[in-house]
């Protein structure tokens, strides 16, 4: 919302700096986003051209001696042809910044030094609306006498500012100069006097000139119209043009400018139709027919649907309600009779229409945020007052009023004690009423209640459950939040707690970071192609994605079902940029479409490492230690896992027989697909399953009473045999000795068959295990029997031979 200080001064006495005003508004909930000078160009001054001579070296340049209010004239070289000796023009001197941001410095032009540059309207950022002649494409010749050396902004009376104020959606009333001035006045310690509109009775009866029928009073609760004949279409006066310009609108002609002026001043959008173009002079407000086409003022064809509201005559559409008028009934230079429309349309319907048509306007923006019936009437009366003031035409008497329900006065009753409770204040009802009065809300104390006469423009104040809070908000912000002393909460004491899953997430993240992994936060969006790049079969669970209805683009249209794609892109980025780091992890959610209302959300832990020194086993080692630190035991790795993994280097991770994740090297084709210079190793683990396993209680077991006997054996087996298989066989052997903590500590593949006595297709593996007994110290015989039993079982099950 643009509030020109010039306009503000119509309603309040402005007695502070613009910055102070902005700060006061801010502390009342109105943020001034920008203080814009009326004249954008700086460093431009009034000068008189004393003498003009032909440039010695350039036919099209002229050298001017210029009086800029200093003792000596200065030299300006120009190519302007409209300047003459004795004329006053704006000149940009060293350091000036023009409206388009260009900086001016002294420069030599074909051998003659010029200290600056003459300016036209374009360089100053102004048009005829601000100063007559400024729209010409040449140097601006000043048409009044000014002092040389005076800043041009002062000379042209464009030295004030425009406040660009951000509005919150609860204050549609402030989308108007008058509305925002109510707040501004209060911020300046004044109360704005509500402007009085002179009633223009006019002659005759509008109903003899036009007729209005509203077929859908739900979508159009009020339609007001007045008629003006004998129009003289001409440019509006400069003061009006200037105000429109300052507030950001383009002047068009007196009638259109009047509607726009009222739009700015009262915040109520209006429209003016050329009544001659309305058949039977009959306005019909109705739903559009499906597919009905209206060409709007901007010359675009808009296809309507049946849920949109159309302003029509008996045969055709003449405007889209609340959005834009039709081209067929536009005010032109030839328009003789106009019908001013000031209507109330249902905000949600206008919102819907603008969205569907993808077309919003100053009008629709205001309708969408909400307009009200009383203001609609003020607006149309103000427009008629302006018609009269400008002598733009002959006002016809009476107003056409089609209103479903006349607006009623609203009263809201608030509880004074409750307001003080919410605000932690001790204000009297009278003090509250006084504060409210500052923003033109009248209230009276009645016992312990505050009876608030809700002004028509405050549609946000509710008479109901919210009243106390509504009034508390107004009283609070007017009283000033700074005046409320902070307190610490009293009452029941709480023991703050970090939930278990949060604590474990902290622990897991800390562990991953300590192992050299950097934490990622990748976007949750992904492209359908990613699942092809990951070689996932059509029926893979990871293809059960949730699709966004309004994504940025197809490549970000799905919610990810795996962290892997994001991690691989991270690998790519870090390789490309040679960042020198090769371990990353992420804890994030993925979503699966499970045909319920809400998709299944799973939190995943993803880890990736790549490059020199990294292998399947370095990543596995990281995970093993992680599981260990979480107290997860009995973790098994079985060959298997997603299609995106290398068939020879992939495993599913099982805890108590349940898969909790996968680990492996990426498939060579995936590496290619993601354009990776390395083959990363990745792991993805279901976070919730992980922490569920971590929750297992840990209980102390007494330490063994009798000595442990460690034993190593080396065996020769088929090279396909996995260590886990051997471990399972050894662990399953039943002997008098307990066999525990079996692990493989060495594997040897012969490089040539027969090396170190290992035949082709075989390998040597060395295992260590511990033997003990709960009741006694094992003797040599028992130890020997146990080892023998193990070797026998290995021979029987795996055809394994002891390596001699």
């Amino acid at each position: 919302m643009k509030l020109p200080l010039k306009w503000l001064k119509d309603f309040v006495e402005f007695n502070v700096t613009p910055e102070e005003f902005a700060n006061r508004m801010l502390l009342r909930g109105f943020e001034v986003a920008e203080i814009i000078p009326e004249m954008k160009a700086t460093g431009v001054y009034v000068c008189t051209i004393e003498k003009i001579e032909q440039h010695p070296n350039a036919e099209r340049l002229r050298v001017c001696a210029v009086d800029i209010g200093r003792e000596e004239p200065v030299t300006i070289v120009t190519n302007a042809t409209n300047v003459y000796e004795g004329c006053q023009v704006p000149v940009a001197l060293d350091g000036a910044v023009l409206a388009d941001g260009m900086e001016i410095h002294p420069t030599k032009m074909r051998g003659v030094q010029s200290v600056g540059m003459f300016c036209g309207g374009a360089e100053l950022g102004i048009t005829d609306a601000e100063y007559e002649g400024a729209s010409n494409d040449s140097v601006l010749i000043l048409n009044e006498k000014h002092v040389n050396g005076q800043p041009i902004a002062d000379a042209l009376d464009l030295n004030e500012v425009i406040f660009d104020i951000e509005l919150t959606p609860n204050r549609p009333d402030c989308q108007s100069i008058i509305g925002i001035c109510r707040e501004a006045a209060s911020a300046l310690g004044q109360r704005m006097k509500e402007p009085e509109i002179k009633e223009i009775k006019g002659e005759g009866n509008a109903e003899d000139y036009a007729k209005v029928t509203v077929l859908n009073p739900t979508l159009c609760p009020r339609y007001l119209a007045r008629v003006v004949t004998d129009l003289k279409i001409e440019p509006s006066p400069r003061w009006m043009q200037l105000r429109l310009k300052l507030a950001g609108l383009r002047p068009i002609n007196n009638i259109v400018d009047i509607t726009n002026y009222v739009l700015l001043e009262y915040g109520h959008p209006m429209h003016a139709f050329d009544l001659a173009c309305i058949e039977d002079a009959h306005i019909v407000v109705r739903n559009a027919r499906e597919g009905e086409v209206v060409t709007t003022l901007d010359g675009k064809e808009r296809t309507m649907s049946a849920d949109m509201l159309l302003i029509a005559d008996p045969h055709k559409g003449v405007g889209i309600a609340g959005v834009m008028g039709g081209l067929n009934s536009e005010i032109t230079g030839d328009t003789k009779v106009t019908l001013f429309e000031s209507a109330v349309f249902l905000p949600e319907n206008i919102r819907h229409t603008t969205r569907k048509l993808r077309h919003s306007t100053d009008s629709s923006a205001r309708f969408t945020k909400g307009v009200e019936a009383v203001n609609a009437e003020k607006a149309i009366n103000r427009a008629i007052e302006l018609v009269d003031m400008l002598g733009a035409g002959k006002v016809i008497g009476s107003m056409i009023n089609v209103t479903a329900k006349e607006p009623a006065e609203k009263t809201a009753v608030a509880d004074i004690a409750h307001i003080n409770e919410i605000l932690h204040t001790e204000l009297s009802g009278e003090r509250m009423a006084e504060l409210l009065s500052g923003i033109n809300i009248d209230a009276e104390v009645n016992g312990d209640k505050l009876v608030v006469k809700v002004p028509h423009f405050r549609t946000d104040i509710e008479d109901g459950i919210e009243t106390d809070w509504d009034i508390a908000e107004e009283v609070g912000r007017l009283y000033g939040y700074d005046n409320i002393e902070p307190t610490l909460m009293v009452g029941k004491t709480f023991q703050g707690r970090l939930g278990e899953s949060f604590a474990l997430e902290d622990k897991i993240k800390d562990y991953m970071a300590s192992m050299g992994f950097m934490e990622l936060y990748n976007y949750n969006f992904t492209s359908p192609q990613e699942y092809d790049l990951l070689l996932l079969p059509e029926d893979d669970e990871k293809r059960q994605t949730v699709r966004l209805r309004n994504p940025f683009g197809e490549d970000q249209s799905l919610m990810r079902t795996t962290l892997i794609g994001g991690m691989l892109r991270t690998v790519q980025l870090n390789c490309n940029r040679k960042t020198g780091h090769s371990r990353f992890f992420e804890v994030g959610n993925v979503h699966f479409n499970n045909n319920d209302d809400l998709p299944e959300e799973r939190r995943m832990l993803g880890a990736v490492c790549f490059g020199t020194g990294e292998s399947f086993f370095t990543l596995k080692g990281v995970l093993e230690q992680l599981f260990g630190s979480l107290g997860i035991t009995g973790v098994r790795y079985e060959r298997g896992g997603g299609e995106y993994l290398h068939p020879g280097q992939k495993a599913v991770i099982l805890v108590d027989g349940e898969s909790i994740g996968e680990i492996g090297c990426v498939h060579p084709q995936v590496k290619k697909g993601f354009d990776l210079p390395v083959s990363p190793f990745i792991a993805e683990i279901d976070f919730n399953k992980l922490i569920a396993k971590a929750n297992a209680e840990r209980k102390f077991k007494p330490l063994p009473k009798f000595p442990i006997v460690p034993r190593d054996i080396a065996i020769i087996v088929d090279s396909e045999v996995e260590s886990q298989t051997v471990i399972d066989v050894i662990s399953a052997v039943k002997t008098k000795a307990l066999i525990e903590n079996v692990y493989c500590f060495d594997v040897f593949y012969p490089k040539v068959p027969g090396e170190k006595g290992i035949p082709a297709g075989k390998k040597s593996m060395a295992f260590r295990f511990e033997l003990r007994n709960d009741d006694h110290t094992l003797n040599d015989e028992e130890i020997g029997q146990a080892v023998k039993a193990i070797l026998k079982s290995l021979k029987f099950r795996l055809d394994a031979d002891l390596r001699s």
Partner: protein, 340 residues
């Protein structure tokens, strides 16, 4: 004989002077004190002497042996000491060379670091962690929070929709509804999580970002309590010297609503380019929970009052670390993460 003994002693002591290392010393020890050494040889010949002379000479010989043994021992320990010193010198390193680790330096994202700081400050104030789904019902994200369909304030948050009923939550506030509906008041919860808005990524916008919300439900809460809570929290996160203020604003789910400004962390509040010369920086929104929301979630607004505040973790991280482009938080460039 005695002369010979003295000669041996002198010779041994003189040779001992020349000993340089353990090896020389061993040889010398063998040559003089060993089983076949010079001294032993003399002692052996003593048997031929008269008893009286033998006793005298024996005493002398023993003294010489003892003397030599001591001297040899002295030299031995000197050599050992020298050898140790030499070894230490050899093992001396340049302690200013960089350290070596077999894992590279890992890092938590600044988002995690800041999230934990905020969270832990609130836990210190008696809050408990709470969370909810990222893909959420429109009802919880908007309607229950006093943002019915077509409410103009819905435009404040451009929303990614899955369908008419389901969306990507635009804030952590739907968890307010979930907490109000499931927890028994009074309670205090802190709700972290990712949120989503249709904002094309640029230096200050990201379609995915992280928010943290605090919700307190009790009987007699006031806006002064809200101020006190926010003040404590701001000091814990930004430092004891940082001031905060509430400034009126509007959110559909709170009334009264306020923005929280903190004194500029760059200039300390005197005004600089980061705070556009105002001395203040906006960091979060807050307010007394709107009675409609309380009622929509099944509680009586005249019995239970609540207040809530929501802070952008990304924004705080950017402020704290001076990050000028929010996208860096989501890019995964190790050079960025390494710095923080």
């Amino acid at each position: 004989m005695l002369d010979e003994l003295i000669k041996i002693r002198e010779e041994a002591l003189s040779k001992l002077q020349e000993v340089e290392n353990e090896n020389d010393l061993s040889e010398l020890t063998v040559a003089f004190l060993g089983r076949n050494g010079a001294l032993t040889a003399i002692l052996r010949t003593m048997s031929k002497l008269a008893p009286e002379e033998r006793a005298k000479l024996g005493k002398e010989a023993n003294e010489v042996k003892q003397h030599l043994t001591e001297k040899f021992e002295q030299v031995r320990s000197q050599i050992a000491k020298r050898a140790e010193e030499f070894k230490i010198r050899q093992e001396t390193i340049d302690v200013t060379l960089p350290g070596v680790v077999d894992v590279p330096a890992g890092k938590l994202s600044p988002l995690t670091v800041v999230y934990r700081e905020i969270r832990d400050a609130l836990i210190g104030l008696g809050f408990t962690t709470f969370e909810g789904p990222e893909v959420e019902y429109d009802d919880y994200n908007f309607t229950k929070l006093n943002l019915p369909l077509n409410h103009p304030a819905r435009d404040m948050q451009d929303t990614f929709y899955i369908n008419d009923k389901v969306l990507l939550r635009t804030h952590t506030s739907p968890c307010e509804a979930r907490a109000l509906m499931t927890l028994k008041p009074p309670f205090r919860v802190v709700i972290p999580g990712r949120v989503f808005r249709v904002d094309e990524p640029d230096a200050s916008h990201s379609p995915v970002f992280m928010q943290m919300e605090g919700l307190v439900v009790d009987r007699n809460l006031t806006i002064a309590d809200l101020k006190g809570t926010i003040d404590t929290f701001v000091k814990a996160v930004f430092g004891e010297n940082v001031k905060s203020r509430l400034r009126p604003s509007y959110f559909p789910f709170t009334e009264p609503s306020a923005e929280v400004d903190i004194s500029c962390t760059i200039c300390g509040g005197v005004g600089c380019s980061s705070c556009k010369g105002t001395g203040w920086m906006e960091i979060m929104g807050c307010g007394i929970t709107n009675p409609h929301e309380i009622e929509n979630c099944g509680l009586d607004p005249n019995e239970w009052r609540a207040f809530a505040f929501g802070v952008g973790v990304d924004r705080v991280a950017c402020l704290k670390y001076g990050i000028n482009d929010i996208r860096l938080l989501y890019e995964g460039d190790a050079r960025f993460l390494r710095q923080l």
